[in-house]
Symmetry: C2
Subunit: 553 residues, 2 copies
């Protein structure tokens, strides 16, 4: 099909990293990307809720916030026109207000000729997993087709394409030339191919290519991976943006929309990372954005010589540079020489500040007074260390990092107010076996770049131990991680109950132990720092279970 009244439409995909609540900063960033794109584009597209950042949660209810968002959109339209970009169509996301109900809306607006030229409100409001949109928004009812240069551009916002029916089904009969969806789609392992499959399905449904524009960056417990793309009905990827960083790329909608004729429109195809690299980069970006968006310049953490703190330190160095990382070794009478050496070596490898703060005198002072035994004495050591980490955090203005992994968090195998202190927990959604994978991957990457190992080999190969009593090993208290992590994945990510877990082939004793540990530790998890979700189901708002519960099946 060739439509002689149409011209090719040049799209710029501005995959940016916004900050929630920073209306001025986000508008400025939109402006700078429009300037960069102006000569090569007719339409510049930004992610879901560009101006407000995403997700805004209950900020949606604050009338002053919605008013300021409106003013940001209106002011941006005027500034674009004043700068001579009024002929462009700039598509941004923002919060709107439904005038009938006064309810907040998740809105897409097109800015053109100095005004907010058109608007569309998200129909499907996700309210599962980490999402609470039905709580804060009322759903849109209308579809929107932008007519630009004779082309008909149907629009959607994120969840609109994940549900059957609704606006996409309506657009299917409206003869659109391209479907544009703007998204705030959080990363999780495996999601890249799910999104692509979905968009191919929608491309076929509307008989037109789909532009999938995603945001990038970290926001509290979510990481947006970008990885925007354009795909046609045949499943050919016509453009792909980078993962885990801002990007500006271009794609032209040809005059013919015949899928067999790409009309020179295949643009840059950023390479896709492999799974382990993706997860590592997700953690690093989540951490980096938490640090910078919250105004920190550096981080502090305890370095035990173990794999968890080593991996977190390596991620922190990759996020903000080793010179902004403070590592503290806090040996006790139970710390092995090997552990102390491994901690020092790690700090040296990443170029971190390194201090040794023994806890022996502090432990003695407490024990002279309290005479604690067994687990209470073990927890005491962890808490004395927590006090030191927070002292560094308070006196140097550093963000404290908690180094617990998902297996630990699941089983409560950590000391609340001890090793659990911190403002951010970069690996809280990584099972222990995944922690090993990522550490090995990071070293392999260093080797590939001709650099020495980052994480001391000894930290990777030695049997895990909290070193809170002589000869202690994690395996004294927990099933082997290879087994434990399988049970945890089934119980947590797949919500398998006891009967399901037995049907999965796990032995009753392991199942009962793991379920009991996980259920008992919910109160600790509630008080654990935020950290990036990288799996299909993370602890936190993704999995909302009561603390008080007697169900054990």
């Amino acid at each position: 099909m060739t439509d002689s009244s149409r011209k090719p439409v040049r799209f710029a995909l501005a995959q940016i990293d916004t900050c929630v609540g920073d209306l001025d900063g986000n508008a400025d960033k939109v402006l700078s990307y429009v300037r960069r794109a102006a000569d090569s584009a007719d339409v510049v597209i930004f992610p879901e809720m560009t101006l407000t950042g995403y997700p805004i949660e209950d900020l949606a209810f604050r009338a002053t916030f919605r008013k300021a968002a409106w003013e940001a959109a209106d002011g941006l339209a005027k500034t674009l026109a004043q700068e001579g970009h009024g002929d462009l169509y700039v598509v941004v996301g923002t919060v709107g207000t439904d005038h009938a109900s006064d309810n907040p809306r998740n809105r897409l607006v097109a800015l053109h000729n100095g005004v907010v030229w058109a608007g569309y409100d998200k129909h499907f409001l996700p309210n599962y997993g980490v999402f609470d949109e039905f709580r804060i928004f009322s759903p849109g009812e209308k579809t929107l087709v932008l007519e630009i240069e004779g082309a008909r551009i149907g629009v959607a916002i994120c969840e609109d394409i994940w549900q059957d029916g609704g606006p996409v089904a309506q657009l299917a009969s409206q003869h659109i030339d391209v479907l544009l969806t703007i998204n705030g789609s959080p990363y999780e392992e495996g999601k890249t191919s799910t999104r692509l499959d979905l968009c191919v399905k929608r491309a076929r449904e509307v008989a037109a290519p789909v532009i999938y524009l995603n945001q990038v960056g970290g926001q509290d417990d979510l990481v947006f991976d970008g990885a925007s793309f354009v795909v046609n009905q045949s499943g050919t990827i016509l453009e792909r943006s980078a993962q885990f960083r801002e990007d500006l790329s271009f794609w032209t909608l040809p005059v013919t929309s015949d899928p067999q004729t790409t009309d020179g429109s295949v643009s840059t195809l950023a390479p896709l990372m492999e799974r382990t690299e993706e997860v590592y980069e997700a953690c690093v970006l989540g951490l980096k954005d938490y640090i910078t968006k919250n105004g920190f310049t550096g981080v502090v953490l305890g370095l035990s010589g173990g794999i968890d703190s080593a991996l977190v330190a390596a991620m922190a160095a990759d996020a903000v540079g080793g010179g902004n990382v403070w590592g503290i070794s806090m040996p006790s009478r139970y710390s092995s020489d090997g552990s102390k050496d491994d901690a020092a070596q790690l700090a040296e490898n990443i170029g971190a500040h390194y201090t040794v703060e023994p806890i022996e005198n502090l432990f003695t002072a407490y024990q002279d007074q309290l005479h604690l035994q067994a687990v209470a004495a073990e927890n005491l050591q962890a808490r004395l260390r927590g006090v030191i980490v927070m002292a560094y955090s308070n006196s140097k203005g550093l963000l404290a990092l908690a180094t617990g992994n998902k297996s630990e968090l699941a089983c409560g195998y950590s000391t609340i107010y001890g090793d659990a202190v911190g403002g951010y927990a970069p690996i809280k959604d990584l099972l222990k076996t995944r922690v090993w994978d990522l550490a090995k991957w990071r070293n392999a990457k260093a080797a590939k770049e001709g650099n020495p190992e980052v994480i001391p080999l000894n930290s990777i190969v030695k049997p895990p131990s909290a070193e809170l009593r002589p000869g202690q090993k994690d395996s004294d208290s927990l099933p082997d991680y290879a087994l434990l992590d399988q049970v945890l994945a089934a119980y947590i990510e797949h919500a398998h109950g006891r009967a399901d877990l037995l049907a999965d082939g796990f032995d009753p004793q392991t199942v009962d132990t793991v379920m009991r540990l996980v259920d008992k530790a919910e109160w600790k998890r509630r008080q654990y720092p935020l950290g990036p979700k990288v799996t299909a189901l993370a602890f936190g708002r993704d999995r909302r279970l009561p603390v008080t519960s007697r169900f054990s099946e």
Copy 2:
């Protein structure tokens, strides 16, 4: 209107305290209440989600949980019949499954003659404030009218009566003789009269009396106050159950439903508490149920001599008896003699265990090593105390209580991992001015009962101080509480932005200070223990704001 085919129907209102996930325990409690009611009732009514407890949150997604809930309902029906109660109609709430979609449902079932005789699924699923029901349940579509002894009993579940339209509007044309609603309605100040007004409106809509049956008890951050009632179209209260405790009361639906003729059906009217007493009892019940349902036998907390810890200790003694309360005085060089005396006096007044654990040696040991200054040194003292409280908790198996109030929590005027440690925080939803009200009310109650004061007068009248440096007063860092609490109520409970607060008449400097403090402290609140919601908007799941946010208006 007199219907000759009808007989009077005797209702038993079983206002019980259930436990989430305790299917067997809840079913046993239903059984025991049915036995008590059997001779005097035709219909025995229990609260929303009786068998499962409420709210079940994401437990709804676990297939084994829904299966067990079905078995509990089915087993209960059989047991009732075996015990000779098959002729009774027993109305309980539970979780169901929609067979078409396999989605969980919030269900009411009537047990009769040994079977699950009838069912109704909640239509309106609240998804605001503390509620996440749209997340976990799919909505019901049908109405249900139970025909019992010739009477037509329309049913609804909680939110169904809070929204216009829906099942109540449909029942209005179905000639019902009474509207029965079963509820899990959390307490907040002022809600008692709101519920009554609502039910009178619904009674007029359906032209029949309304039975409002609420659950009672604490579940994590929610307190259910009970206070069930029956009201007719004229607004006459025909029955009212007790507040904040289990109750079994009776009301008979007369053969005539003429509102002028109550037909001897006015039953017991439990007295209503006044507001301050309500709030105090809500905190005590929330604490008591958290302790007992989580298997603790006692609590431990730091006693500073200040009003907050004194009030929490008094509540704990009222909840579980002073003999199950461990109070620790942890004086530093900055603690006044008055404070130490007040702490000791409080412990004596409530019959608590009392220990003195000075922190001077611990502080010296740390400072010899770390040499902290200013706020870092102040936080250190609070954290050394947190370690002691947790050491008592771990070694004696006690629940640690955090004693922070809502004003402190709002402004971040507390030390995370210091005074903020604990599994439960009984007064976290009380503004400081309300803390004083409750302390005075508790002493007045003691006086009325001829007992000496519970909370030392000095703790009530002295200027609040954290005593972390010489001569420190809260008013050095915060506006006066009388003003602060007004700004906080407007900013937090009414979501007023900066412009609104200025329009409210607050001065710009106070507004900017308070907003900045509140916004900056979000990360600390995320890690704060659970505590009972008693206001219209509590911190926690009731108010979901991003940690990372730059909006300041």
